[in-house]
Each structure stands twice: as structure tokens, then as C-alpha cells.
Symmetry: C2
Subunit: 252 residues, 2 copies
DNA sequence: TCACTTTATTTGGGATCCCAAAGTCAAGTC
DNA sequence: GACTTGACTTTGGGATCCCAAATAAAGTGA
């Protein structure tokens, strides 16, 4: 069953990432109990988890220091994740049972291709593409034959942008047809990379699968960096808002 | 400060890995309180951690199922770690500040070279070589410029053989000069790989650094597999005993 | 003897409390 | 005004308890 401490960890993490706390502010158990109207037991459990994730640091008898992830942290973690996914791609390409999973990946590619071909970049299209992207990436992680690749990805998936299938969208693409076209184009590039990965895996070309998966994640890193260059005061919260990862923005 | 729950998690994990519990046995908070003479609070905290590590699985209101890591799990995790280290090697090779860290790596290589040149494989020599190996690997992880490589490695370092610098030793090498020579030879091979990695990093050859680091971890995987082939009833506990990772065996 | 019901026990989630450690603040001294 | 000291407050570690949920055991009737 879902316990209070698990959900609480998610809420506190979200608050930290969205800058609810000041940089020098320290968390305390009592404060969190009051804020979230729970007792200290689930708060303690949640804080241990966040400590393990590296986004708070426990002082001795003196509350918790916040270490909110930075854009740099996210870029580094995305690089690590991409590298892990490249291992998954290589292993899947070498797997004798890979054919079983190719249809799911092919379908995901088709969904994104259909939507981008129609020039759609509305919220519903974004939602569908993100779901398809998630299927593509999680299939690879789960079908590569090494459970610890997926397990290790999960250990860092608490960070923004690190959830399976996270995609970055420039939310301003709605402003003008020119920007919409650029957004669609970028998605098509990404999906073309999906296609190459798929073909490489299908044909057992491990080197190509690995290389293109690595390139695929690098594309995301470069895109995040363009946001950063354009807006030097870009925060993680901003980036999360840009992201199509399952978020409150999408839910609203 | 060290808390009871952190140490308790380590002890329970150790007990699980060493087969103290039967396969079908379930852990309960009350039992662990009794066994370790502590209250439920630190037990609960420790169990949450072990659950996150994947070696126990929480039932709803019904104790915890043990999922002791298998040899296969370890091989998979070592592969993941090796892949992460190959990223660290590549990044370090590309880092403009890499020269600062080369002396530590060179010294580690020298220590292992000296000891193997002397044909030493006694406990003290093993201890020194393991410490040097740890320096070599942790330097690379810490100096690669991406903190999440190290962070991610740490997330799986609870598994046997996944601690930084873990080395596998065939403890029977003490039996005969022939076996000692084979053990020494294998260590020299590994250290020769260290040398290649070092040179590649020194000269900024990222591809070579990455490739050899990957090969280096593969060597360890193959070695573990030789144990497995030789002894089909090999357990994780056996493997830990073979390992030179910091363990009770070495301390005794 | 078997199926069903009832009762007892086990179990974890969470609330609450005690205690020691660390920091803050006010009062006193030089 | 600076420094010291003691009292007070804050804080987390851990112990203990209550409660609901799940399982096991005992009792009952056909």
C-alpha cells in the first residue's frame, strides 16, 4: 500500500525543486509535521529517503540542509542516464529475444511520427508523444536483459527530467507557426533517432544501437543547454515547467 | 553522527547476503528488534533503506520478503558499474584538469606493480593492492567532472563486489606456487589495463580510456564467471569470501 | 470430516513521548 | 562593548504505544 512517508517524500522533493524553500533555509521535522499535518514518524522516514537521494543533508541534531538540484546536476544526471540507456540499447541489440519487444518500440515511433506529421503540438499531442516516448525508453530498459540497468536508472529518477521518457518542450512554441514548426522539427529529429535505434536493435547492430542512443541523450542535453544560454536565470523549476514529464502543468 | 538505523541496515544486509535467513523466511520488525535489541524506530528506518536497495520487498501489513542478491544480480550490477566507470574514464580523458589527479592513479598502479613484481599474495599484499585499486577507481569517479557518475555508482554499491575498487581473489592461490603465479599474473593483467587507462587519460584519448575501462570491468565479470563454472553451487556468500573488498575476513 | 464462523495473534503504519545534544538568548562581569 | 555563563529552546534519535489490517487458530454445525 502507499504510505504517507512515500507520498510525503515526493511532496517535499517537489517543494524543494520548485524553490518553495529559501536557499539557506533548513528543514526540521517539527516544521514539516506542521506543514503537512502528520506526525514525526512518516516525516523521519521521508527525510531519510531524501537524504539518500542527495537533495537534503542531515545535520547532527540540527535539522536538514537543502541541496536543491541545479541545472548542472540535471545535465550531469541526464548524461549518466543516457549512458545507461546506451548500455541497454547495446544489450538489447545483442539479445536473442529482442524481437518480442520490437513491436512496442515500433508503435511508439509510429505514434510520434503520426502526431508530428500532422503538425500537432497541442497539450493532448504532447501528452501522447510523451507517453509513447516513455514506452520506447522503458521497453529498452526492461528488455535489455540486465535488470540493474533499469534499477540504476530508477535510483536517479527522482531528479527532474530523469523520469523515463522525459522530454523537453519549449512551451512558447504555441506563440507562432514558425516556432511550432521548429518544435515539430526537433521532435522529428528525436524520433528519427528512435527509428535508427530500433533498426539497429532489430538487426543486432549493438555498436550502432549504443552510439545512437548516446547521441539521442546528447540531443536532450544540448537542448537543455540552449534554454540555459538563452536565459541565464533559468531555474530547475523553469526547466520542469518546460518539461513534458508527468507534471501538474500537464494535469491541469 | 552515525545512527543505529544506518548500522542496522548494514548488518541486516550482511546477514541476508550471507544466507543467515532461509529463502522463504520473512523479516518482521518485531523479530529484528529482538535480534538486535533495539526498538522499532531504527528497525523501520533500516528496512525502508533495504527496501529501496531492492533486497527486501515490503508486504502490506505482513512483514518483508527477502530478495537476496544472486550471482547473476552481481554480474549485472558489475556490468552497470563498469559501464559507468567507462563514462568516468572518457570524461576524465576529456577534462582539462585531469593532470591534477594523475599522480594518485600512477601511485596506485605503482603499488600494485611493486607487490606483484615481488610475487606477493599474502593478506597484507592483498590489502595494499585492494586499497590501491580503490584509489585508482575512486579517483577516476571523483575527477571525471560529473558528480552523478559517482553518485549513481554509490546507489548500487551496497551490492557485494560493487564497492569501489572491489577485486576478486581466488583464496586458494595460497595452496601452491603454481596457483600463486596464476593469481599474480591475473593481477598484472588487470594492472596493465590500469596503465593503459592511465595513459589514455593522460593523453586525452577518450575513446581508448573508455574502451579499456569497459574491458577492465569485463575482465572481472569473466573471472567471477570462472568461479561460477567451476562451482555450480557457488553462493554470493562464497563470492564475498573470495572478494578482497573490505570484509570481516580481511579484518580478522 | 469438512466448511464456515469467530476469536486470537501477528504485523506494520503512524502517533506520541522521553531524552540528549546543539544552538540561542539573556544576564552578569570586566 | 566584549566576553562568559547559565537557562531555555530547538532539534533529532529512539522507545513505546495505539490501531487497523491480515493471518492463524479454535469452535461450531451439517
Amino acid at each position: 500500500m502507499d504510505t504517507i512517508d512515500t507520498e510525503l517524500a515526493a511532496r517535499i522533493r517537489d517543494d524543494i525543486i520548485h524553490g518553495v524553500y529559501a536557499e539557506d533555509e533548513r528543514l526540521s521535522e517539527a516544521k514539516l509535521c506542521e506543514t503537512h499535518q502528520v506526525s514525526r514518524t512518516p516525516v523521519r522516514l521521508a527525510l531519510r529517503r531524501l537524504e539518500r537521494e542527495g537533495i537534503i543533508q542531515r545535520g547532527e541534531w540540527r535539522g536538514y540542509k537543502i541541496q536543491s538540484p541545479t541545472i548542472s546536476d540535471i545535465l550531469q544526471a541526464v548524461q549518466v542516464r543516457g549512458h545507461l540507456e546506451s548500455l541497454a540499447a547495446r544489450l538489447m541489440a545483442q539479445s536473442p529475444t529482442r524481437a518480442e519487444h520490437l513491436p512496442d518500440m515500433a508503435e511508439a515511433i509510429r505514434v510520434i511520427d503520426d502526431l508530428t506529421s500532422q503538425g500537432r503540438l497541442d497539450e493532448d499531442a504532447i501528452h501522447q508523444m510523451q507517453a509513447a516516448n516513455k514506452v520506447f525508453h522503458t521497453t529498452m530498459l526492461e528488455a535489455c536483459g540486465n535488470e540493474y540497468v533499469n534499477f540504476t536508472c530508477q535510483q536517479i529518477s527522482h531528479l527532474p527530467m530523469l523520469a523515463a521518457g522525459s522530454m523537453v518542450f519549449d512551451r512558447r512554441v504555441h506563440d507562432s507557426p514558425d516556432q511550432i514548426e521548429r518544435g515539430i522539427f526537433r521532435l522529428r529529429i528525436g524520433n528519427a533517432q528512435h527509428q535508427v535505434i530500433y533498426e539497429a536493435i532489430k538487426h543486432g547492430d549493438a555498436v550502432r544501437a549504443e552510439g545512437m542512443t548516446r547521441e539521442h541523450s546528447h540531443t536532450m542535453i544540448e537542448y537543455i543547454e540552449t534554454f540555459e544560454k538563452r536565459d541565464e536565470s533559468l531555474t530547475v523549476s523553469d526547466l520542469v515547467a518546460y518539461s513534458a514529464a508527468e507534471s501538474d502543468l500537464l494535469k491541469s
